[in-house]
Symmetry: C2
Subunit: 218 residues, 2 copies
């Protein structure tokens, strides 16, 4: 598909701006497990996802992680061009969870369009607001929600994403998504197992009672 189909404000750009985008964007492939963007260590440019699945997360000094949001087809992420974003003072890491392909808008062109195109600037504003809302939602979850509810949420969401009730996820991986320690995940999963909601096997979690898990969510 053409790059122009991925940018909702394409028709609000001038022919020159459209041309400079056409000339500058490159499509890249990221096999599953690639670190696509590593905080302030690089400034690859704006990521416009064509296919696959990526996750954006933050990392603590001690190596703990928490997933901020997922990126799918047609999603746009500005943080991989954070060198061009004034006042962004945090580091987001983006990795491909499944094989992914994306267009990259080079950071200089992104900066130039921000300086000269009002529709582009407003659109960047909207993207930023969306991410902000996602992070605030996550913050509220972390602050106010019980861990059993959050874990039930996570398992159900993963099951929907993968289209299966057998999730190939280690406890460590789950902990990295949720920003907690592996032991905390293991303890809660064992409790879920004792309640018949999941079945634990090596490297996998099988959801055996979706209804009961869903009842936990509310």
């Amino acid at each position: 598909m053409e790059f122009s189909n991925y940018l909702p404000i394409w028709n609000k750009l001038t022919p020159q701006q459209q041309q400079s985008l056409q000339d500058a964007v490159v499509q890249m492939n990221f096999p599953a497990g690639t670190i696509v963007h590593n905080g302030s260590l690089d400034c690859m440019g704006v990521l416009v996802v064509c296919s696959g699945q990526l996750r954006a997360y933050i990392l603590s000094d001690e190596g703990r992680e928490i997933t901020l949001y997922r990126l799918f087809d047609h999603d746009i992420c500005l943080f991989s061009a954070s060198c061009m974003l004034r006042n962004i003072e945090f580091d987001v890491i983006i990795e491909s969870e499944k094989d992914a392909a994306a267009w990259i808008i080079p950071p200089q062109l992104f900066g130039k369009l921000m300086e000269e195109s009002l529709p582009f600037s407003n659109y960047a504003n909207e993207l930023m607001s969306s991410r902000f809302s996602e992070v605030m939602w996550l913050m509220e979850q972390v602050m106010w929600k019980r861990f059993d509810q959050r874990l039930a949420d996570f398992l159900i969401q993963e099951s929907q994403l993968e289209g299966t009730t057998v999730l190939r996820l280690t406890h460590e991986k789950i902990a990295n998504h949720m920003g907690t320690a592996r032991e905390v995940v293991t303890r809660m999963l064992r409790y879920f197992q004792s309640e018949g909601m999941v079945k634990l096997t090596r490297g996998a979690v099988e959801l055996t009672d979706l209804k009961k898990l869903q009842a936990l969510q509310s």
Copy 2:
């Protein structure tokens, strides 16, 4: 002071835009304890603080609070005009902690300037990014930092803000700032007291060993 001094991009606006701002902004006073903006329940407009101290916080369904950031002289808050911000899907409450005065840019004018002024749109972007960074910082604190360190941080910061080591704060108030339960604050303050770092009296916390509190922070 003139309103124009509070808007860093004033000189990048057209004379018409400057005039419409001059005509539309109003100055308001908020005695300490006023709920200045209450999430999606109102849309007062952009808040441009002239004096005093306000705090922006979120509220859980169960009535728990956490302070997101403080606003002082010359700070600008967009969230009190969130009806004009696309994709902002969370509710921020703003209350004056001390007597405060602020200019208000009406939401319609804010929306109009966003639509027609590139410098204004980019400036709004920068403001949004700053708030985003503050919230990410807070999220990292909440996620990764031990509660004793966060409480030491908070007490030292309040002491600097108030210019005194005797803080007139109930445990409930501290809990509302930090997004935790009163009991958790009380328990930790008692521990601090047993270590000689604070002295607890009715309705107040006196910092008795700043050095030891500061040592906790790092």
